[in-house]
């Protein structure tokens, strides 16, 4: 047994050790450093050269060990190195190359456990006439500068071995362990506090997680699985980077970094981005000749607010980096503990992206299939690479990121006076794709009026049933005649083009007749929902300035006294033939408004959207083509004040179909067999049983739709086409739609909203109105035939939302929807929510739909909604559930699938989700969770031996008096370092191999205790140690 000495571990060693604990079976911290020996040296001599280097540097004789709750570095006495040699030179070439490669890859990819010296593996291999050293070392004892030293010393000792002279290598003044002890002394007390104060301030308000668009949701726990895209920067780009650096009193690295920050900001939409930057950590001359791990990452916060130019951004990056470097010695794990004490195992703390400029070193010869960061660039003067996390990104996405970085960087250094917001992200082909190819919707169709189309239909099928309501049927001829008679009266009362007629009528035959009559008069109809509060009705009637108000006998009390109250005799004696332009106040043209629908904005008073005939007929033409069910029976159940209703109302009447007017929960809705066509919101889906479900088309609109919401219905009705239709009232009912054909399954997760309707263009633009690349969230703008005229009597508001369109015919407008969406690679669009509702909890952006999908996927959950509530100031997630659900198990179960920040803090069981009159989820009506619902606080005494043990260890290490079964290690003030101690104590007590990541994944006493019990149970089952280890490995999802 050789002698050994223990010293405190350095901060860097501690950090690498802790990170490595998350998956000790990964080679993520392996560093390869091959070196060719001069051909004069035989294997023994080569071994001798390596031996001299190992003898000089204690770091190469060091391993790490937990000792009494603290990590120590153990330095072994030097013993001659044992390195296998393998001579391949006699093999046939193909075999030799294959074997050489196999050796290198095996060495590079075999994990090096940290608890046994040495922390390197070496092999001598002879391929041709000289030996090469294959050397792979753990990052805990080796860094980039170590690689330079190592190579230099090998060369010096090899040269000495060849010539027999002395080696040109200076004595080492100190050893690595001396540095570690000194560092521990330096970085303590007030000095450490001062440094941490800088970092807390530097990172205050920065996003905890990058807003980069991901191809897949974050898994509940991160591993190190990664891949890399290698690339060469275009010729001359690094020279241009250097020139801009020189001209800006900056370094080339700062320019590269500014470009990266610009890319991250442009792609994420965040105006603050945080990038990991490595510091060498060798600030004193004594440590410069030492092999060892000195590198410390720092988090550089880059501010891109205020539309900076490239030059301005570079200034900010330079100043920020200089500041950060001055505090570069603060141990990164101390910063993590100060800034983000609560570890979320789904996210790397503080920064998730990094950029290294290593001009002269090459890349690792063997790709390891690992990554530490979500995205990290290594830029060199030769081949560069982007390393990416394969849990989050597809290779195609990583390749696109590389292309965008290079394009943006080249433009930035060419024109530093340009604004970052205007740097090009897309190449010409991509630009054509998103602007033109995916918007090739041209469809030749003459403009017309709704009136002309309904009358055409009435003339074609006069005897067909147009309307069924309250058990009565009306043929096309009867409906048209009734509407003509009333229209003549309306004209006589002043209705005509560019005027409005308000309809305060309940759902009835009269309502439909009135709508057609108003349209025939040339006026626009303004539906007034008679169920609304009186104040709202009064506001609407005042704001709309109607020429006339129509009411029924039982709604007359809701409207002013001069309203026209309809009864069976109204207009009964007037001419029933179609009106001509001569009968109207002025000719009716497709450019005149057809209706004004009021929509509530999130702020301000409801506003009337003025929609013209040409827009409605444009939509209807597309809808009749897309929804063959409109020629059959359509169940019309939603209020006519909701523009979703237009499809089932005017669609059938221009297609020869029948409108069945009935509340969705009334017996009349079920009379007459299944409808052919039905349009609902996703919230209606649970109501659709076999009788209500349509036979041909189910159209879903009004709210975001997930595959999980649709799955149950889809399974029962595979033969029906399902269409997810998106559209604000301002772009007429539906302007983007996706069709799930009969037989096709509902996709998991968000259902795409698809592609634009005829003669409509959908544009996804960033804040500077540039098109965003596929995959990147952009704001949705809509242009084309379906655009509304604007907001009634609101010129300013109209001008704000209907903007000049830079991507269409001259003079065209585009409507800014306020919705976020992204293009999928197949040219369909995915809806991402309202721009204003971007929800953040604990600094992380939340996709509520993702959580709702996970809830709906659980057995027993029929309906689910998740909202952010901030009753106590701090925003928290609350889940609402309908169904037979074991709430107690829910949070624990979800935590296995979702990142911790996406697990609701409380759940509320409801009999049904509250809906608005339009059938959308009524978020405001969701009850606050009862106070004790957040029962986590209540003390529960430990119930088992394992819980008692874990609770005692927590209490002791955290200095807390009473720890209960439901207490969370991190909530009690634990951090990674203390966690390390806690796990060591537990391991010592129960002698099971409990990995560090178990604590991150199960910080609650009861959960961790359960894990310990299952480990003990596994042993008791009589398995051998190897079998237990194998079992553990599978459980922890690692490969050994």
């Amino acid at each position: 047994m050789s002698r050994e000495w223990t010293f405190p571990a350095s901060f860097a060693q501690e950090r690498v050790w802790m990170a490595n604990q998350l998956d000790p079976g990964s080679p993520v911290y392996n560093v390869s450093n091959p070196w060719p020996f001069p051909r004069e040296l035989d294997a023994d001599a080569a071994r001798g050269v390596l031996d001299r280097v190992v003898a000089r540097h204690e770091a190469l004789r060091t391993h790490l060990r937990m000792d009494d709750g603290a990590l120590v570095q153990v330095v072994r006495e030097h013993e001659p190195v044992r390195v296998e040699a393998e001579d391949l030179s006699g093999l046939p070439e193909a075999e030799r190359t294959a074997r050489y490669r196999a050796i290198r890859e095996e060495l590079a990819r075999t994990p090096i456990p940290l608890d046994a010296a040495p922390l390197w593996r070496a092999r001598l291999v002879k391929v041709t006439d000289a030996w090469t050293l294959q050397f792979v070392v753990h990052h805990a004892v080796f860094d980039a500068h170590s690689a330079v030293l190592f190579t230099r010393e090998l060369a010096a000792f090899a040269a000495a071995a060849v010539t027999g002279g002395p080696a040109d290598v200076a004595e080492l003044p100190i050893q690595y362990a001396d540095f570690a002890a000194w560092q521990r002394e330096q970085l303590a007390g007030p000095e450490l506090d001062r440094q941490l104060a800088f970092w807390t301030d530097h990172l205050a308000g920065a996003p905890a997680v990058t807003g980069l668009p991901l191809d897949r949701p974050r898994p509940a726990r991160l591993g190190f699985a990664g891949d890399e895209v290698r690339f060469d920067l275009p010729d001359g780009l690094l020279d241009a980077v250097g020139r801009l650096a020189t001209a800006s009193a900056a370094t080339p690295y700062m320019v590269l970094l500014a470009g990266f920050a610009a890319l991250l900001s442009r792609v994420s939409g965040d105006d603050t981005v945080v990038v990991g930057v490595s510091t060498a950590g060798r600030d004193t001359p004594e440590v410069s000749p030492l092999i060892g791990m000195f590198v410390n990452p720092v988090a550089l916060r880059c501010d891109l607010a205020g539309d900076p130019t490239v030059a301005e951004l570079l200034d900010r990056v330079r100043d920020g980096l200089i500041d950060a470097m001055e505090h570069g010695q603060t141990p990164f794990q101390k910063i993590v503990e100060a800034v983000a004490p609560r570890r979320d195992p789904s996210v790397q703390p503080i920064f998730q992206t990094a950029l290294n400029f290593i001009p002269d070193s090459g890349l690792d010869p063997v790709p390891l299939g690992t990554t530490k960061d979500d995205l990290a660039f290594d830029i060199t003067t030769g081949e560069s690479r982007l390393v990416y996390r394969t849990d989050l990104f597809d290779r195609a996405t990583a390749e696109a990121i590389v292309a965008r970085y290079v394009r943006l960087l080249a433009a930035a250094v060419a024109e530093p006076a340009r604004r970052v917001a205007e740097l090009p992200l897309l190449d010409d082909a991509e630009r054509r794709q998103v602007l033109d190819t995916w918007n090739a919707t041209a469809h030749d169709r003459p403009a017309s009026t709704i009136v002309a189309e309904v009358q055409r239909q009435a003339a074609a099928t006069p005897g067909a049933v147009a309307l069924v309501c309250d058990g009565a049927e009306l043929t096309y001829a009867e409906l048209n005649a009734a509407a003509n008679r009333l229209a003549r009266l309306l004209v006589a009362r002043g209705a005509g083009p560019e005027t409005r007629v308000a309809l305060a009528l309940p759902r009835s035959t009269e309502l439909l007749v009135a709508i057609l009559a108003v349209l025939k008069s040339g006026a626009a109809y303004v539906p007034v929902d008679t169920g609304y509060p009186a104040a709202r009705i009064a506001y609407l009637l005042e704001d709309a300035e109607p020429a006339l108000v129509l009411a029924a006998a039982d709604t007359a009390n809701l409207v002013p006294g001069d309203a026209l109250v309809l009864d069976p005799l109204t207009a009964a004696d007037l001419d029933a033939s179609d009106l001509t332009d001569a009968d109207r106040v002025a000719p009716l043209r497709p450019e005149h408004p057809a209706y004004v629908l009021y929509t509530s904005g999130s702020t301000g008073r409801p506003k009337g959207v003025v929609v013209e005939h040409r827009s409605v007929t444009a939509y209807l033409a597309w809808a009749r083509h897309t929804y063959p069910g409109l020629a059959g029976t359509a169940l019309l159940h939603s209020p006519v004040s909701f523009d979703l209703t237009v499809t089932g109302l005017l669609g059938p009447l221009t297609a020869g179909g029948t409108v069945r007017l009935a509340a969705i929960d009334s017996p009349a809705a079920r009379t007459g067999g299944r409808p052919d066509f039905l349009k609902v919101t996703p919230s209606h889906l649970p109501l659709l049983d076999d009788v209500l479900s349509p036979t041909t088309d189910l159209v879903i609109g009004g709210e975001a739709l997930t595959g999980e919401q649709l799955a149950g219905w889809r399974a029962a009705h595979p033969e029906v086409a399902v269409i997810n239709e998106y559209g604000p009232t301002e772009a007429t009912v539906g302007c983007v739609a996706a069709r799930i054909a009969p037989g096709q399954d509902a996709p998991a997760g968000a259902v795409p909203i698809g592609t634009p309707t005829w003669n409509t263009r959908a544009l996804l633009l960033d804040a500077a109105l540039n098109p965003v690349p596929p995959g990147v969230a952009g704001e949705l703008y809509v242009a084309g035939d379906q655009l509304a005229r604007g907001y009634l009597r609101r010129p300013g508001l109209t001008a704000e939302r209907f903007l000049p369109c830079p991507y269409g015919p001259a003079g065209q407008r585009m409507y800014r929807t306020g919705d976020l969406a992204r293009w999928r690679a197949d040219g369909t669009m995915e809806y991402l929510g309202r721009r204003d509702d971007q929800v953040k909890v604990r600094g992380m952006r939340i996709e509520l739909g993702e959580i709702e999908s996970a809830l709906l996927a659980r057995p027993g959950v029929r309906e689910a909604a998740v909202v952010v509530r901030a009753e106590d100031g701090e925003p928290t997630l609350v889940g609402y559930l309908v169904g037979d659900v074991d709430q107690a198990a829910l949070a624990t179960d979800l935590a296995r699938e979702l990142p911790a920040h996406l697990v609701p803090a409380a759940f509320v069981a409801l009999d049904a989700l509250p809906l608005t009159p339009n059938g959308k989820l009524d978020r405001a009506a969701l009850p606050a969770p009862a106070a004790p619902a957040v029962a986590e606080d209540a003390y529960v005494a430990p119930r088992t031996d394992a819980e008692t043990l874990v609770a005692e260890v927590y209490a002791d290490i955290l200095g807390v008096e009473k720890v209960g079964a439901r207490d969370d290690f991190f909530a009690l003030g634990g951090n990674s370092l203390r966690g390390m101690r806690a796990m060591a104590r537990i391991r010592a007590e129960v002698d099971v191999d409990l990995p560090m990541r178990a604590l991150f994944a199960s910080p609650v006493v009861a959960d961790l205790a359960a894990q310990i019990e299952s480990l003990i149970a596994a042993e008791l089952d009589g398995l051998s140690d190897t079998e237990v280890a194998a079992l553990l490995a599978t459980e922890e999802g690692r490969t050994t």
Binding site: E498, P587, P795, A799, E800, P804, A810, G811, R813
Partner: protein, 62 residues
């Protein structure tokens, strides 16, 4: 940082809108000569865009 400046612009249908003064104005739109903050421009439009019917509709009716 200076507040962004906008222009009040108008197309041939005499529909008004606003546009960032830093950006090239799309074809078919004309600068009306009024510039200011976003709010100033929108307030100005509230006073000048008194008839929101497109010009072609207005002319057909007269």
């Amino acid at each position: 940082m200076a507040e962004s400046r906008f222009l009040v612009v108008r197309n041939d249908e005499e529909q008004y809108s606003i546009w960032s003064a830093d950006r090239e104005l799309p074809a078919g739109w004309h600068d009306t000569g009024f510039a200011g903050s976003r709010e100033e421009c929108l307030a100005h439009i509230d006073t000048v865009w008194t008839d929101m019917r497109p010009r072609s509709v207005r002319e057909a009716l007269s």
